[in-house]
Every structure is written in structure tokens, then in C-alpha cells.
């Protein structure tokens, strides 16, 4: 089980702020995860339509789409940040 958390328009399009899911063994990298999530429904498909703009954090630390998920407890998906 891994906890997924969503922010800003990713959260809005997916329609929830977080969820816990089981990942199949075939999902090894963040890129795999994004592909996998797109299959879960239209909200996901719209939210993740342009995967290049999706930022990802594993256990609250920025990571790359090529990074392995490993034994991540929490994975966050969000758009480019606009703080400051």
C-alpha cells in the first residue's frame, strides 16, 4: 500500500486529495505510476494528460519521473509550484 496525495488542479481533476492504493509489481518507476493511474478513470486521465508538467515527491522530497518507487510510503503529484 502506498499513500497518494494530490494538490491544486491535479487534486481537483482527480476529484480527491489523497488515497491509498496497491500497486502491481509492474509499476516500478514514477513514469510507470503515472501511466497506471491514467487507467483509473477520466479524472485521472485529464489530470495526467501531459505527464511532463506533473511534479512528483516521494516521501516529501522532489524526485524525477525515472526514479524508482521502491518502498515509498507517500507519493505526491502536483502541478508546477507557484508560491513566493
Amino acid at each position: 500500500m502506498v499513500k497518494l496525495v494530490y494538490f491544486a488542479w491535479v487534486r481537483e481533476r482527480i476529484g480527491k486529495s489523497d488515497e491509498e492504493i496497491n500497486l502491481p509489481d509492474s509499476v516500478r518507476t514514477i513514469a510507470d505510476l503515472l501511466d497506471h493511474l491514467k487507467q483509473r478513470g477520466e479524472g485521472y486521465a485529464v489530470a495526467l494528460e501531459v505527464p511532463e508538467v506533473i511534479h512528483v515527491a516521494i516521501n516529501q522530497e522532489h524526485c524525477q519521473h525515472s526514479d524508482l518507487i521502491g518502498d515509498a510510503r507517500e507519493i505526491a503529484l502536483f502541478p508546477p509550484m507557484t508560491g513566493g
Binding site: V5, F7, A8, W9, A57, Q60, E61, H62, A76, F78, P79, P80, M81, T82, G83, G84
Partner: protein, 153 residues
């Protein structure tokens, strides 16, 4: 000695003089303090407020990481980072960076570095709330902010 880093994520406003006094009273050796304050601005006269969403936990962690990186790069005597969340109306403070150093250029450069990284790395997102009551759009990230990071490689 504890590292002179203070980071806070809060809904409340902050007061610059209070933050500087806190830094200076902890260390009588500080000669130069630079601050950057980011304010909510209303470019078109249509903005009622900005609503700032953040990633609790990671926001604090990321601000600590960014401040730590600045301490490695410049001889600083103190760094304070404060970022607000929630509803913020035009003219109000959003973000504060404070750097203290014996050397004024170190304080200037570190503050500029910290802002560039806060803008593009700290997990905050702005959405507009319009004067007509409608929820406006999410603020787009600007290429110029992303490009600003390249300066510090």
C-alpha cells in the same frame, strides 16, 4: 551551536521588524540584514484575494532544505523563511526571506537565491478569487521563475 535557520508555514501575517530583531538579538555580530517580502498584488483590479494551497509537512521540509543549501553556499549568520497559506488579499504579505551576514553581498545573494528556490521548489500553489465572487484560475508557473534557477548551478 544551533543552526540559525528558522522556517515557518503559517496562515497569520508576520512582522518584519520582529523577525529581524529576533535574529539580531541572538547575535550581536550581525552587520547586514537583507529581507525580501512578496506581496499579493492586483494587476487588473479584478482580484479579491489569492488562495494559497500548500503541502503540509513537505512545505516545511523543503524550506529547511533550501535554507540549508544557502548556509552551505554563503557565510550567513541567520536565515528566516516564512510562507503564508490560506486567503490573502491584495497588499498583504505572502512570503518573507531574511538573511543576515557580516558581508552585505552574501546577504543579498543568499536572499535572491532563496527566493528563486522558494518560487519553484516550495510546494505552494496560488489560485485567484475574483471580485465578482467567482473562483478564478490557478496561477500559472512562469518560465522566467524556472529560468532563474539556472543562475545558481
Amino acid at each position: 551551536m544551533t543552526l540559525p535557520i528558522k522556517t515557518r508555514v503559517q496562515a497569520d501575517d508576520f512582522d518584519l521588524q520582529t523577525e529581524i530583531d529576533a535574529l539580531a538579538s541572538a547575535n550581536c555580530d550581525i552587520g547586514a540584514v537583507v529581507t525580501f517580502t512578496g506581496l499579493c498584488r492586483d494587476d487588473n483590479g479584478t482580484l479579491a484575494a489569492l488562495e494559497l494551497e500548500h503541502y503540509p509537512g513537505m512545505a516545511e521540509l523543503e524550506m529547511q532544505r533550501i535554507a540549508g543549501e544557502a548556509l552551505v553556499r554563503w557565510p550567513l549568520d541567520g536565515v528566516t523563511l516564512i510562507h503564508r497559506f490560506g486567503k490573502i488579499v491584495p497588499g498583504e504579505n505572502i512570503v518573507l526571506v531574511v538573511t543576515a551576514s557580516k558581508h552585505r553581498n552574501a546577504a543579498f545573494e543568499a536572499a535572491s537565491f532563496l527566493m528563486d528556490f522558494l518560487k519553484s521548489k516550495a510546494p505552494f500553489w496560488k489560485r485567484e478569487i475574483r471580485r465578482d465572487g467567482k473562483v478564478g484560475s490557478w496561477v500559472d508557473a512562469r518560465d522566467v521563475d524556472q529560468a532563474a534557477l539556472q543562475r545558481w548551478r
